[in-house]
């Protein structure tokens, strides 16, 4: 499952390493991935920032409680598992020097698969242009650091609203942990309104919840089902009747139930809700993962081809959600996770219909996240946007194209379905009530749509 591709394995050998270094080829390393029982980080995590670092003040206790070795200073040759930089107090671009001063010497001492997490504030809520510029600058510096890092290390930015600092604990914990292996150069927004405190993810954070995953018979959807089940959820696995055999295998593997229905069927939403309610007593989480591609240049795309992609990838979600998100359906505190794609952000030649549908999914996230009714019921809506993920689908791409797709990112490798699944599970977590309206790319900081 979590096997490195051939090239990654090759450059791990002495000969491969030398050859890659001589030729200046990318040198991907096998990423650290989550296993139950694993500590959040292995090694000290340096913390610091600007001014009185209000976010760190709120987060430190939770990180320590989760077993993170939080240090304010590190000896000259100590290896670091991560750095958390709190710039929430930045008032002016001059204050960014605090970030440089902390990070610059630390970067050289990062371990394999280390983590840089920058914490800042939403630029839109700045009190003046200088502050806004300083806040916006964090995105540029974080993305650049992510590109500078080597050996599986990542850098991401968390934006928290004032008063919501503690609610960002789950997000910071996720970004420090191996669960975020392929999340790189991303911005996660936390807060808005009053928000409960979060915890770093526990062993079975979804225990007692009921999840429905569409497109669960294989690929990313099957891995999402496994990951949610591992985290304690009872999973309703949904796929087309024709995929019933692998669907049954997944459902039985995760101790869930199989529901054979096409998501474009007008009764699909009602079937999912009825199944979850009758069998498992309710519904807490919906993951709209089912998706198809019918790639062709727009010049050669007829109405039927166009419609099939939009129907499955976008319109079915709107239709199902009319039922699933109706009052009394998805339980209060519920979660909705959509699956977009970097093609929906960057666009892709030959993928007009697909990109339209996946960009539309981002529109849905924006729309639902702004819905006052859903907010009142504490329902969050987020999306993952996978980049190049090693699945049966991408295995069929011609070798050369596939090799390019796989390497064109900061981690120089394709992601695994589990990487997408971990991010879905993160959004689903109990502590993530303040994380809504996000589109997090799971793409190893792909150059596409950067």
């Amino acid at each position: 499952m979590a096997r490195a591709d051939g090239y990654t394995a090759f450059v791990g050998t002495p000969v491969g390493r030398r050859l890659a270094s001589t030729l200046g080829l990318p040198r991907p390393v096998p990423l650290r991935r989550y296993e139950p029982g694993q500590p959040v980080t292995e090694g000290p995590v340096l913390v610091g920032g600007h001014g009185d670092t209000p976010a760190l003040a709120a987060l430190r206790g939770g990180l320590v409680a989760a077993g993170v070795d939080v240090v304010d200073e590190a000896g000259e040759d100590a290896r670091l598992a991560g750095v958390v930089v709190d710039l929430t107090a930045a008032e002016d671009p001059a204050d960014l020097e605090s970030l440089r001063a902390l990070l610059s010497p630390a970067l050289r001492r990062l371990d394999r698969c280390a983590r840089v997490v920058v914490v800042g504030r939403h630029p839109e809520s700045a009190s003046g242009v200088a502050q806004r510029a300083a806040r916006r600058a964090l995105e540029g510096v974080t993305r650049s650091v992510a590109k500078e890092l080597r050996a599986g290390a990542t850098a991401n930015l968390v934006l928290v609203t004032e008063g919501a600092e503690a609610a960002a604990l789950g997000t910071v914990g996720f970004l420090l942990s191996a669960r975020s292996a392929y999340v790189d150069g991303q911005v996660v927004r936390v807060g808005g309104g009053s928000v409960p405190d979060a915890a770093v993810q526990a062993e079975r954070p979804l225990a007692g919840t009921v999840a429905a995953v569409t497109g669960a018979a294989r690929g990313i959807g099957a891995e999402i089902a496994r990951t949610l089940a591992r985290d304690g959820a009872r999973v309703v696995c949904v796929d087309v009747p024709g995929a019933g055999a692998p669907l049954a295998a997944v459902a039985n593997e995760v101790g869930g139930t199989a529901l054979q229905t096409d998501v474009t069927d007008e009764r699909a939403g009602a079937r999912i809700l009825e199944h979850a309610t009758q069998r498992h007593g309710g519904l807490d989480l919906v993951v709209h993962n089912a998706g198809i591609t019918r790639d062709k240049l727009l010049a050669n795309t007829d109405a039927q081809r166009w419609a099939s992609v939009l129907d499955v990838n976008l319109r079915s979600i709107v239709r199902m959600n009319e039922t699933l998100l109706a009052p009394g359906a998805l339980r209060a505190g519920g979660r909705v996770v959509l699956v977009s794609s970097i093609a929906g952000i960057a666009g892709n030649r030959g993928q007009s219909s697909y990109a339209a549908s996946k960009a539309g999914v981002i529109g849905l996230v924006d729309g639902y996240a702004a819905d006052a009714g859903l907010r009142r019921r504490r329902i969050t809506v987020n999306a993952v946007a996978p980049g190049f993920v090693e699945t049966e689908m991408t295995a069929r791409i011609p070798l050369a194209t596939r090799e390019v797709g796989r390497r064109l990112n900061s981690l120089s490798q394709g992601g695994l379905p589990v990487d997408v699944a971990e991010t879905v599970a993160f959004f689903a977590g109990d502590g993530q009530a303040a994380v809504t309206g996000n589109v997090v790319r799971v793409c190893g900081q792909s150059l596409l749509g950067a």
């Binding site: 009747p241 019933g244 055999a245 459902a251 101790g255 139930t257 199989a258 498992h280």
Partner: protein, 427 residues
């Protein structure tokens, strides 16, 4: 013992039925039964569950499959603590298994269980001729090399020849089709009537597929997503053009179109008490009301091989105080179109009901719009032991859709002059 309680049909799962030597040609009975179980386990979230029992069987069985159902359970996601046993009552196997399990549940001996059946006409055991078999056994008993050589020398080239078991009756040497042809002629069943029944079977099954009726009754297997034998586009003309395969001369009426083909497949049904169902978030579809088995003397020719249900049903009706018309739906297994039509004709016949059944009046006719409303074996195919499970699950779902209290009659004929029938009632 104790008072009885109601046994509920909670759902079912089968794999699409394939034609002999079709996509399941390489699949064993155990493979197919395990697959059908896995789909059921997935649909109802039973992974790791210990059920009261699993009872199933196959008509054509390898000797190595002495514990077929138990082995299928061990290969499934059910808890290995789930006991299992095989039954075999020819084509009645699946229905008989369901009745057995329902009875145990009714008596409180089990809270839940799965009944079913499987058959492969493709992966059939190959049997050597009786003479060769004896000589081979003698060879395996031989101790010394000399004895072995002697035993081996006795095997003549003419001994070698294999027999693939067919659907012929041991005591008459006649195939089921030949038997049926006699009965069909006795009851004057026309070619047209048979073809019409076959046509309805195909059209109704096709309509049911289109409506998604089987989405929660079936799990695809080896690339097959619906019954391979189904011909949605068949017409009376096409059926009329087929040559007859059973019966002789002018009077022959039975074709490959109005007879079921040899098939491969498996079917399962989940049964449980109401309490068990509730604890598992399941809604009963229908309850088992009664079951009855009958047999007739087909050897002497006193009665047709497949006519036993004509006797079983009236006995069960009398016990229940019901008439033949008290049903919303009828599922009469289409071994041959003429089987269904002969049975219906018998129930309509004054003399048959008087002389054979000892009744004052005929049972009468049934509303044909209530018969096999989603098609039956002529369209779906008929892997012998799997048919009962197919019918019970289908009928239970149909009754549940029709609403509480609606009643259904099941009738399945079987080799050896036997018949198994049952009544289900919507929950």
């Amino acid at each position: 013992m104790t008072t009885t309680r109601r046994a509920a049909v909670l759902g079912g799962n089968r794999i699409p039925f394939a034609r002999q030597f079709g996509p399941y040609a390489e699949a064993s009975n155990q493979d197919m039964l395990t697959s059908a179980l896995e789909g059921l386990v997935a649909r109802y979230g039973l992974a790791g569950e210990r059920l009261g029992e699993v009872v199933a069987g196959a008509v054509i069985k390898h000797s190595r499959d002495f514990n077929l159902t138990r082995e299928a359970v061990l290969g499934s996601s059910l808890s290995p603590d789930t006991p299992a046993y095989d039954v075999q009552q020819a084509c009645g196997t699946g229905l008989e298994a369901s009745i057995l399990l329902a009875n145990k549940i009714a008596l409180g001996q089990a809270d839940s269980g799965i009944a079913g059946g499987v058959d492969s006409a493709s992966d059939a055991p190959v049997v050597v001729a009786e003479r060769l078999r004896r000589k081979l056994l003698r060879l395996s008993r031989a101790r010394s090399t000399a004895d072995r050589a002697k035993a081996l020398a006795q095997i003549r080239p003419t001994d070698i020849g294999i027999q693939v078991p067919g659907a012929s009756e041991p005591r008459t040497g006649m195939t089921m089709g030949q038997h049926m042809a006699i009965t069909a002629e006795r009851w004057g069943i026309t070619r047209e009537a048979q073809d019409e029944l076959a046509l309805a079977s195909h059209h109704r099954l096709a309509t049911a597929y289109e409506a998604g009726f089987f989405d929660d009754l079936m799990t695809p297997y080896l690339g097959l997503t619906q019954d391979q034998n189904l011909r949605p586009g068949t017409t009376l003309d096409k059926l009329a053009s087929l040559r007859t395969v059973f019966g002789e001369g002018e009077g022959a009426t039975m074709t490959a179109g109005n007879s079921t083909p040899l098939s491969d497949g498996a079917a399962t049904v989940l049964l449980g008490s109401e309490e068990w169902a509730q604890a598992h978030g399941l809604k009963p579809l229908a309850f088992f009301v009664d079951g009855e088995t009958a047999a007739v003397d087909h050897v002497s020719g006193d009665e047709g091989l497949l006519m036993a249900p004509a006797y079983a049903v009236p006995r069960m009706l009398a016990r229940q105080g019901l008439t033949l018309q008290d049903f919303d739906l009828y599922e009469i297994h289409e071994a041959f179109a003429s089987t269904v039509l002969s049975t219906l004709a018998a129930w309509e016949s004054e003399s048959f009901c008087r002389d054979r059944l000892g009744l004052d009046a005929p049972l009468g006719s049934i509303d044909r719009d209530r018969l096999n409303v989603t098609g039956s074996s002529l369209a779906a195919g008929h892997p012998f032991a799997a048919t009962g499970g197919r019918i019970v699950a289908t009928l239970a779902k149909l009754l549940a859709e029709r609403g509480s209290g609606s009643r259904g009659l099941v009738s399945v004929c079987a080799a050896g002059g036997q018949g198994v029938v049952a009544i289900l009632e919507a929950a």
